[in-house]
Symmetry: D2
Subunit: 346 residues, 4 copies
Amino acid sequence: MADKKIKVGIVGGTGYTGVELLRLLSVHPNVALTTITSRGDAGLAVADMFPNLRGYVDLTFTDPAHSNLEQCDVVFFATPNGIAMQQARQLLSKGVRVIDLAADFRIKDIATWEKWYGMSHACPDLVAQAVYGLPEINREAIRGAQLVANPGCYPTAVQLGFMPLLEAGVVDISYLIADAKSGVSGAGRKAEVPSLFAESADNFKAYAVNGHRHLPEISQGLTAMANAEVGFTFVPHLTPLIRGIHATLYAKITKSVDLQALFEARYADEHFVDVLPKGTHPETRSVRGSNLCRIAVHQPQGSDIVVILSVIDNLVKGAAGQAVQNMNIMFDLAETSGLQIVPLLP
Amino acid sequence: MADKKIKVGIVGGTGYTGVELLRLLSVHPNVALTTITSRGDAGLAVADMFPNLRGYVDLTFTDPAHSNLEQCDVVFFATPNGIAMQQARQLLSKGVRVIDLAADFRIKDIATWEKWYGMSHACPDLVAQAVYGLPEINREAIRGAQLVANPGCYPTAVQLGFMPLLEAGVVDISYLIADAKSGVSGAGRKAEVPSLFAESADNFKAYAVNGHRHLPEISQGLTAMANAEVGFTFVPHLTPLIRGIHATLYAKITKSVDLQALFEARYADEHFVDVLPKGTHPETRSVRGSNLCRIAVHQPQGSDIVVILSVIDNLVKGAAGQAVQNMNIMFDLAETSGLQIVPLLP
Amino acid sequence: MADKKIKVGIVGGTGYTGVELLRLLSVHPNVALTTITSRGDAGLAVADMFPNLRGYVDLTFTDPAHSNLEQCDVVFFATPNGIAMQQARQLLSKGVRVIDLAADFRIKDIATWEKWYGMSHACPDLVAQAVYGLPEINREAIRGAQLVANPGCYPTAVQLGFMPLLEAGVVDISYLIADAKSGVSGAGRKAEVPSLFAESADNFKAYAVNGHRHLPEISQGLTAMANAEVGFTFVPHLTPLIRGIHATLYAKITKSVDLQALFEARYADEHFVDVLPKGTHPETRSVRGSNLCRIAVHQPQGSDIVVILSVIDNLVKGAAGQAVQNMNIMFDLAETSGLQIVPLLP
Amino acid sequence: MADKKIKVGIVGGTGYTGVELLRLLSVHPNVALTTITSRGDAGLAVADMFPNLRGYVDLTFTDPAHSNLEQCDVVFFATPNGIAMQQARQLLSKGVRVIDLAADFRIKDIATWEKWYGMSHACPDLVAQAVYGLPEINREAIRGAQLVANPGCYPTAVQLGFMPLLEAGVVDISYLIADAKSGVSGAGRKAEVPSLFAESADNFKAYAVNGHRHLPEISQGLTAMANAEVGFTFVPHLTPLIRGIHATLYAKITKSVDLQALFEARYADEHFVDVLPKGTHPETRSVRGSNLCRIAVHQPQGSDIVVILSVIDNLVKGAAGQAVQNMNIMFDLAETSGLQIVPLLP
């Protein structure tokens, strides 16, 4: 049985997406966790850094230079932007499949990527080849992909919320608004003053209103869905949650349809997208720790404005869980394998 | 000097707006706290219920039936909706001025009020006479008012944010959106499951998307500013803050103007509205405990969408502080008297 | 395979221990969730009350009067104190095994129980028969038990922390101190003002210093371990966590031993008690959502005072998880069945 | 009038004690804020870093090299440990009085200080001259002091709690325990991973159990009160509060006295120490933002153990507020001047 397990490597496992991958993969029935690298913490037992993993992960961080990543079946990059594009080609050339949880392969237009990420891209050809790993729209392409660009957290919540509307062509695409709120873990496990408890607890603020890196990623996706350029305003906010994204989406209806039925039909076969009953309000905690996206559809006061509420756990469906979902698809496992997790409430 | 102090009574001091009035009035240099009533807690020392007031407030809750409210110069109603309308007439007839922190006198159209608040109005004539207590637009009327309807918390943050745009006629008034986020104290000091710590901590959700009671109040105000009926969508959210409202407002620009200059000019003489430098993001904690509203103006990516960020402390500028500001105006005190409070940060 | 599953009923599933039982049991491989009762919410779909369970639990609350609890193999009582003692006898008489998560069967001395819980006990004979469900000390008795008294949350954390010291007789039992801190979910899903977010967030306090109901339960356990009456001081505190208990225990060492080795030996075979390396500090989040108790042993500054730090998730090892552990033992399942949950961090 | 104001300088105003000094001093009626220095942020407007101060503080951080600190009447050091000892002598030589909020002058025994703080002391003679700024025990010495060592946060809460017991000689001084809990602002405004929101929210842990720097400071104070060496165990914990310390103190009673009366008598004339009624439990929020210490006395179950509950705001009575209180004493102002702040609740 053990020889059938997928050998998994993780590059850069010291951030929140890394520890979340470990939480999910350490009890995944079809996975053998093989290698986890960290330049800075090589030699340290993973469970010494993340005590929740004591008893579940007995790996030690290894130096990337001495890792055996090339013997893995798949390697996840849970690294800062700009790392995977340096290392993916060699792994791919050895037949190792790659899932990048950072942004290196998400945006097809290289100039756009370079503008927003402030660096030259190391391998534009791989960008062309990469598959954007949003299973609800790209499942078949993911199945055969060697290189998957795992979507960003905001882009997952926002695209899943707008998708049925844009595909059906029932809203004015020139004036789409996403007012999104994220928990502080979205900023990563980086020592920065604005992410301190004493700075972000009991506090709420917008940030990057003039332009967040997830804006071009979302615009690319919405434009593909609408098959036309969209006018899109994106305002992210920081809210005192550990985990969770709540996207509130606004659009003007141009064609009268049963919106509830539209959403239910679109996601009828999607295990990880749950369309709630009409008139309800999804809570971020209702997906805490799970790979679910829950969505509710509103048309307030019978006006011509549709309001979509879309929640995910930014570290799961917005990062590590979606990456595992992609792995499951790539290796012909049950898509829910290792992801049957009841959200933690309260 | 003591004989010059304003004699103040409070009806219903056991909720959060009540204790906040006490925090502000107990150290207000021109106020003599005279009476505070509570039917349920008569006989209890106020400081036994609210230990922060030990040493500052030595009043005991008195039964409304035996209070001497009629000897006060002004009475604040910090009661549930529907109480002030029963008791205001008698006080007014004795020359006592009244400030209602609830909603009884906010909406001029009686039918609208009755629909949203689910009861018959006891005194429509007093509604006509009442002055809506938003000083930034109604200062002169407030000065002479006998009866002030103190605005709601969301309405304060939203109206102050939209006001310069609507007065100047520079946005499309058919498609105004307010995505507002409130701390849990906004739900009051009521024992209800959704307001429990274990329910609302580490959680974020929208609520009342199909219609919140503050919607008609805001619509009334925006319509007055625009001098035409507005199309307005209002989505409130609950966020794990104790205090604070953050309103994110969206509108389509129809006339090119220097928005930053427009806002700075409009609020140049307003002590309690602070227009932040262009491109900044106000935090709710930057107004915590104070009567300030801080506003920032954005035009993301140079598009024709204006995004206004407006923050207040829901218990101060959104309730008790604004009520004190109204009292200061009514009694010809310095408008800032008792309200020179530096926000608590961190 | 399905016919081998244990048929499980839950009485009173609308509180936090109830929803936590459902979270654990809905994905337990050896369990068929059969019935869940609620007098007040009969007819309501469980997942409508607890949206995290959508897709995992499709039961509806049934009225206790019309439930088929007697056809279950085991029934959990997740009810307020005083309910299980009214209903256990009939179930036991039908051969249904019973696990009570409340306090009805925890305290052997009936007079003591009646004093602390303020009611007459309905079935003292069943108290005598009941097994106290702390597996780390009572495993064999639990295996054969018909009626299990699941320990309280504080008692679990405190007893597991003191146990090795008292069993080994190495501390002064006349002066034991437990300074314990609990998350707010410990107060249950009850609408009470002190548990409101706006009351308990950003706040810390002790409570019930003069006597908490868990005091006699812990004293009974410590006395049994020490085989002599102990002098025990217990001070519980409320801390702004959703979940988690941290017990800090103090005792005076009377006999020089290697304390670290003592603890490691005592818990060497216990899957759910994790003795941390010397000098470390367990965090409550390191057990969040899991059935683990993590313990660290300190002897500050080489003095003769031993300080034990013991953390659990109050809803899991302190309630529902320990109940499932007991069920696993009673039905000869692997003790970890359904409880292999990696704690959620961050 | 302005010429009578005390000219105040602050060294190192970019941390939490710095911004808190500014909050208090900017509205202090007898203070003229003159200079605030920061090496790293010279040239930046203070209110750009701390937006709560907009409208209250219009100073700009100046480089220490070009500041005019010597023209101040008093200079506060809100710096890391080891800075004030380098700069105090020169200021003192010019007649400038100095209040150090760091630890440089708190511990009289130089060897002890050097061991715990890991550096050589630059001016042992000034340590001898410095007055420990706990007004409740040292008021007269403070009045004439040129150099005040402002106490640490834990030491303030713990010493005020033990003081009446030790001065009266009614407890066993060989076995004193302080189990203390602090909010995260106690760690300062430093970018460090353990202080991140996603690390410290919904989490509770002990830290530094084997030895915290406040241990020798507290021991020195307790020993002085008891006039004999004490056996003292100190266990600090991190709790998800922004502000607040709750110290729970344990001691064995050796002499029967009316403890409540003892505490009330000891603090009868102390404005900032509030002895609560017997049997109550102070909350940290009941002192939030204020200079108060609230204390409750318990003797659980009538045993011979006394439990003292002592709460302060770590940034006010535990730092900046106490420093202002010391300044008021030094300059013969009313001790409460600028400190009449009603705690913010909720």
